[in-house]
């Protein structure tokens, strides 16, 4: 009864009320990362989310206009069971876990964020990718009314990102619906986003509406914007500089001195084998 009123209420409430709401039944993360968590206030006030403007403060200011209900994700392409998933179903598709990940932005700053979600593989398994599914493309919402930043052609909207199928199926690759135990704040990519912790932040598409399994490597929004600056792989790599920033070091938000950047953002043990035999200077 109590639950029912809660659900009914949430239908009437403006959905900014939903942010800050606790997510139920979250399994606490088992392996503790030694890094100190970045405070929630910094995670939610300092964002790159060009759909809401290009300055770091814009998303927190402008994301209020995003409507996170109703919401669906269409999964299609090289799959046996293409389907449209409703957000409520997605939230219950697999057990929610807390995952504390380092986030490394291409602009040489970093955070440590306790995400809540489950491995993307859980979703992909349910649609049964075919043998031709070599890559996965992620498409974010396009609606300039909700996303005022899309009124300017900063990027080629909608935002597109992509992974190789083995990267997408990797257990570290997370479909996140929350952080700090709460419903994902809008400026962080609500209602549901990707988190790929060994790649630069822009690879982790936000506010996803479509997932396509495809045979050819997709062209992402950032690759279109700057082909020699942003590659398809975009693995965190201190040895390969971006023309504008050295990637050897990073500033952890909240710290003064820069710290050395780790290969694959510190996840080399888990993911380096995905790239064995590849020249990562060419495949940046």
């Amino acid at each position: 009864m109590k639950l029912a009123t809660g659900a009914a209420l949430s239908g009437f409430l403006p959905d900014w009320v939903l942010a800050g709401e606790q997510l139920a039944n979250v399994k606490k993360s088992t392996e503790a990362l030694s890094d100190k968590l970045t405070p929630l206030k910094d995670i939610t006030a300092y964002n790159n989310f060009y759909e809401f403007g290009t300055s770091k403060e814009d998303p927190a200011q402008n994301a209020g206009s995003l409507k996170t209900r109703p919401w669906t994700i269409t999964v299609e392409g090289e799959v046996n069971k293409p389907r449209v998933f409703d957000i409520e179903e997605l939230l219950k598709l697999a057990p929610m876990e807390e995952r504390v990940y380092r986030l490394r932005c291409v602009e040489a700053w970093s955070m440590v964020i306790p995400w809540v979600g489950y491995s993307l593989a859980e979703l992909l398994k349910r649609v049964e990718p075919t043998g031709k599914a070599k890559f996965v493309e992620f498409v974010s919402l396009e609606d300039p009314k909700q996303m005022p930043g899309q009124k300017s052609a900063t990027l080629d909207w909608p935002y597109r990102e992509g992974l190789r199928i083995d990267e997408a199926m990797h257990p570290l690759t997370l479909l996140a619906a929350g952080l700090y135990g709460e419903v994902l704040p809008k400026q962080n990519g609500a209602p549901i986003r990707l988190v790929v912790p060994w790649k630069y932040g822009y690879k982790s598409a936000k506010s996803i509406v479509k997932i396509r399994l495809v045979e050819k490597q997709p062209v992402t929004s950032w690759m279109k914007a700057g082909p020699n600056e942003y590659g398809f792989y975009s693995n965190v790599n201190p040895a390969v500089d971006h023309p504008r920033w050295t990637q050897a070091k990073e500033r952890r938000i909240g710290e003064f001195l820069k710290r050395p950047t780790l290969p694959f953002n510190g996840y080399a043990d888990q993911v380096a084998q995905l790239y064995s035999g590849m020249d990562l200077t060419k495949n940046f």
């Binding site: 910094d42 290009t54 770091k56 300017s152 914007a225 500089d241 050295t246 500033r251 909240g254």
Partner: protein, 213 residues
């Protein structure tokens, strides 16, 4: 009171007002730093804000002489030295933020930046150009150099402004609207000078008696 020739007392007040106005950005940063209100990445905020005000004040100081030309208010020139020194002040803060806070004396990484990051490759000499200008900004140095040579030296400021705009253009990741605005304003200011120069209507350094714009 005439706007064309306000008396010295009024000019003194105008100078004080401009001085206080030009201090607002640094006071604002100082207060924000004190109450811990610089956001999640305070060093980035300081770097960007001081860079922004360096270029803004530089363009404002380059507006003085065209404005005098258009209005005939010769007294405007008396604000120019102070404005120029404020440019140097904010540029120094910008450079020091980079040196002390951003890099914390990591010399190898600084040299690497100057060599490998195009926006710093132009920003660094643009800053260096301002040093001789600041050093020669007092009356004694003007006398020592002689007006003509002093004037020639201070033309370096155009190079610095172009460098500043290119620096901004190259550091922006995707959204070029701000650097574009600065580039347009600078082209206007330099274009104005070019037109006068092409027409042989150079503005005299020290207005001759009876000189009319």
């Amino acid at each position: 009171m005439s706007l064309k020739k306000p008396d010295n007392k009024i000019i003194a007040w105008i100078k004080i007002a401009v001085f206080l106005l030009a201090l607002i950005p640094v006071l604002n940063l100082g207060i924000s730093a004190y109450i811990d209100n610089l956001g999640a990445n305070p060093i980035e905020k300081l770097t960007r804000s001081t860079g922004f005000w360096t270029l803004t004040l530089l363009l404002i100081s380059l507006t003085v002489s065209p404005l005098r030309r258009l209005t005939g208010w010769n007294w405007l020139m008396r604000l120019r030295r102070m404005l120029g020194l404020f440019v140097f002040f904010y540029a120094s803060l910008h450079f020091l933020t980079y040196l002390l806070l951003d890099q914390f004396f990591a010399w190898a990484s600084i040299v690497n930046d100057i060599v490998k990051r195009p926006y710093i490759t132009v920003g660094f000499p643009a800053f260096m150009l301002l040093i001789p200008l600041a050093v020669t900004s007092n009356n004694r140095m003007i006398k020592l150099l002689g007006g003509k040579r002093w004037l020639l030296l201070h033309r370096l400021v155009y190079l610095c402004a172009v460098g500043g705009v290119v620096h901004y253009w190259w550091l922006v990741k995707k959204d070029l609207s701000n650097p574009l605005t600065f580039a347009l304003l600078l082209s206007l200011l330099l274009g104005f000078r070019l037109i006068y120069w092409l027409r042989g209507l150079n503005i005299p350094l020290i207005p001759r008696k009876g000189w009319q714009p």
